[in-house]
């Protein structure tokens, strides 16, 4: 589809990005890659993906819209184009998702000049992997119930506590960390830190195993961990506000982790291919009317999502400014879940085969994608919490807390 609204400069960049991606496809990975960066498990995967992110960055397709002083390209409106081209080129994902989509934009908004110069370039190039330390055993949907503490001691803060569901924690050099600096206020007692992780005294990273049997996220324990005050982001007690900035970007990250950005009909074509290859009552599943209806339903939801994105930019066709943006995370995660679920159904008797089994359809993709999809319907605020937010902020229903 032609983009009527691009400037000449942007069109030139689009051509460049497309050409570069076509000419610089990375070699095949040394081992099978997971479906998204939050499931990266092994050092081999990490090294391969980190090398790829560096190349993409050096080509000018990452951090395009950041100021040059912080390692960016200094452009405007280039990143969206680069992201579209990266998704369309079906090349590996960028591994430093927390650094790129949460830490860097938050530091750009709230950081000191020194912090911006120190942290943003490494996050963009992928040299320094970031993880997120918001969730705790007792602070999931109720995120403000932070129990990890940071106590001031001279020029340092002493951190004690327990973070969970920490994707990429086992490779991370840095963490965006929420910690309680006051017990007097639930929200205003939280402060936001940029905390060293790798090799830092008192920090223990332990893998958690997901329902798929894969690792990929962790719990992180803090025992008298020293964090210099210069790594505090914004004011003491302002952590909740800063976290809201991160969450705004996290929704975008959750969308791309959930398979967004590319052609929404692509997964549907995979379902059609699968249905042509599976048998039901002596005919192909692609001939079964109920299966056909279910596949078309998925395509309609996917196209609806794409057109929502288009309509969100036409103010005259939007009743409430947050009505469409706040729907994205719910819709995207539930679409990939129902796509995968339908794939499992179509795979039929073979759907129970794990990827080790050579007879598993599509190398075991469907059941793993289905189970893995709960990561996206739970993470970044469960879809139940998202529905509360939509009901309250957009429809004006009474608050549930």
């Amino acid at each position: 589809m032609a983009e009527a609204s691009l400037t000449a400069e942007q069109i030139e960049f689009q051509d460049y990005a497309r050409r570069w991606l076509a000419e610089n496809r990375p070699p095949p990975p040394p081992e099978r890659l997971p479906l998204s960066p939050i499931e990266v498990m092994t050092e081999g995967q990490r090294d391969y993906l980190q090398a790829w992110q560096r190349r993409v960055y050096d080509a000018g397709l990452v951090g395009c819209d950041y100021p040059e002083a912080y390692g960016g390209g200094g452009h405007q409106g280039f990143q969206r184009i680069a992201n579209q081209e990266i998704a369309a080129a079906r090349v590996p994902f960028l591994v430093n998702i927390v650094g790129l989509q949460m830490a860097a934009p938050t530091i750009l908004v709230h950081g000191t000049e020194e912090q911006k110069r120190k942290f943003i370039p490494g996050a963009l190039r992928g040299d320094e992997i970031w993880c997120q330390g918001f969730s705790e055993p007792g602070a999931g949907s109720d995120m403000a119930n932070q129990q990890t503490t940071a106590v001031r001691r001279g020029d340092d803060w002493i951190v004690n506590g327990h973070k969970v569901w920490t994707s990429l924690g086992h490779f991370a050099k840095w963490m965006i960390l929420l910690a309680r600096t006051s017990r007097d206020h639930k929200y205003d007692g939280i402060t936001y830190f940029l905390c060293p992780i790798e090799g830092h005294p008192g920090v223990t990273v332990r893998p958690l195993i997901k329902i798929t049997g894969e690792s990929g996220f962790n719990e992180v324990l803090f025992e008298d961990v020293v964090v210099p005050d210069r790594y505090r982001l914004d004011d003491v007690g302002k952590g909740w506000t800063v976290a809201m900035t991160t969450l705004t970007y996290e929704r975008g990250a959750a969308e791309s982790a959930g398979g967004g950005g590319g052609d929404p009909l692509q997964p549907v074509r995979r379902l059609v291919a699968l249905a042509r290859d599976r048998w039901r009552d002596g005919r192909r599943a692609a001939d079964d009317p109920i299966t056909r209806d279910a596949i078309v339903q998925q395509a309609i939801v996917a196209e609806g999502l794409r057109q929502n994105g288009r309509r969100a930019k036409v103010p005259a066709l939007v009743d409430h400014p947050m009505r469409l943006p706040l729907q994205q995370k719910v819709l995207m995660s539930e679409l990939s879940q129902s796509n995968a679920r339908l794939g499992v159904e179509i795979a039929g008797a073979h759907s129970t085969l794990y990827k080790l089994d050579p007879a598993a359809p599509d190398a075991g993709h469907w059941p793993l994608a289905y189970m893995g999809s709960y990561g996206h319907t739970i993470a970044a605020g469960t879809n139940e919490i998202q529905r509360n937010i939509l009901g309250e902020r957009v429809l004006g229903l009474p608050k549930s807390k």
Partner: protein
């Protein structure tokens, strides 16, 4: 592929017309007036079988505003307005459950503008001038295939004579002109026939929806002069117009569903049980959000489909079928929750939700429900099914 505007081509003209329509209908067709017109006496339509009321004075205003001529090219006396603008207008019509022949008239305009311009021009001009019209293109089995009527055409000089019956004719008792699909062998004609032409007889269908009427129309050797044959290639004309017809119904469904959502949200904010507004409870809150998600999906697909029509895109049919499928499903869910979440009062005649529930139910089936649209899409995307 044709170039499609990122903003659907929805500009200030379209916005202005939509806002004008909203203002006019807010003033002229508030729920209280709608109830007075169509539902004051439950026996009138359902027991005595009379036609439901409507507001001919408001129709006169609509004609004066030129809405019947919106899709009609300027050289045929119309406005040449974009389909995205018409879709936005019809959303407002649905939001007010407006009883009027506007949708059936717009449908005729979309069909006739696809016909040979010379043959169709006088009829387009009459519609642009405000003659209410309706399509007589459906057979007694109610198939959703374009133009499948049981009306036969026989040659009569350079004209035709029509015999047979067209069913499911929308707002037939408000229309003055019918666009009739009639077959002679493999040929399919579209004929412009005044409802008061000799041999035309309308027989009222007793339908649930109080905001429109519907009829079977019998043609008993009705003479059609050559000048009233609007098309001799009716099948192709109907196929070309079909996306726009689907868009009209989808837009009405979207508007209707948005009213249902907002009205139920207002009730959930207001109605207290267990010392709290019921909208506090997630069993109420989350279904309302789900209705919103479905409505927004349908609306986005609606404007995409309308934009495809305006851009002459070959994807218009698929886009319109997606929109109608999504709108039928959104309409069904919003209707379902609007009654259920109103509780006991929602089950009564005095609560307005039933008016929109029935209009939506009618629209959901009109021109093919969601399953029908998806069957057609599967044929295109997956290919024919072997049995």
């Amino acid at each position: 592929m044709s170039e499609m505007p990122r903003d659907f081509g929805f500009g200030s003209d379209e916005e202005m017309l939509r806002d004008l329509a909203r203002k006019l209908l807010d003033e002229e067709m508030p729920p209280a007036k709608l109830r007075r017109l169509v539902a004051e006496d439950p026996g009138r339509v359902y027991e005595r079988g009379e036609l439901p009321g409507w507001d001919p004075a408001l129709w006169k205003q609509i004609v004066e505003l030129g809405w019947t001529g919106l899709p009609i090219p300027e050289d045929a006396g119309g406005v040449g307005f974009k389909t995205v603008g018409v879709a936005a207008l019809v959303e407002e019509v649905g939001r007010h459950a407006l009883p009027s022949p506007l949708l059936s008239t717009l449908a005729c305009a979309y069909v006739l503008r696809e016909a040979d311009p010379e043959a169709a021009a006088p009829w387009l001009r009459r519609i642009a001038d405000g003659t209410p019209a309706s399509l007589a293109i459906t057979d007694a089995r109610g198939t959703w295939e374009p133009g499948a009527t049981d009306v036969a055409a026989a040659a009569d000089g350079d004209g035709l004579r029509l015999s047979g019956t067209a069913c499911f004719v929308q707002d037939a008792f408000k229309a003055e002109l019918l666009v009739v699909s009639a077959a002679r062998g493999d040929e399919r004609f579209l004929c412009a026939v005044p409802v008061d032409a000799p041999g035309v007889e309308r027989s009222q269908d007793h339908i649930h929806d109080l905001t429109r009427d519907q009829a079977s129309v019998r043609f008993d050797d009705v003479a059609v002069p050559a000048a009233a044959i609007a098309s001799r290639d009716g099948a192709a004309v109907l196929a070309a117009a079909w996306p726009a017809l689907l868009v009209l119904v989808a837009a009405d469904l979207c508007g209707c569903a948005e009213w249902q959502l907002q009205t139920t949200v207002a009730y959930a904010r207001d109605r207290k049980q267990f010392d709290r507004p019921i909208g506090f409870f997630q069993a109420v809150k989350h279904p309302l959000v789900d209705a919103m998600l479905m409505i927004d999906r349908a609306r986005s697909l609606l404007y995409h489909a309308a934009c495809c029509i305006d851009s002459g895109s070959p994807e218009a049919e698929a886009a319109a079928r997606m929109a109608k499928s999504a709108a039928s499903d959104a309409g069904a869910y919003a209707s379902d929750r609007s009654v259920q979440l109103h509780g006991g009062i929602g089950f009564t005649w005095e609560c307005d939700v039933h008016l929109f529930f029935k209009r939506s139910l009618h629209d959901q089936a009109l021109l093919g429900d969601g399953v029908h649209q998806r069957r057609k899409l599967a044929l295109e995307w997956i290919g024919p099914a072997e049995s």
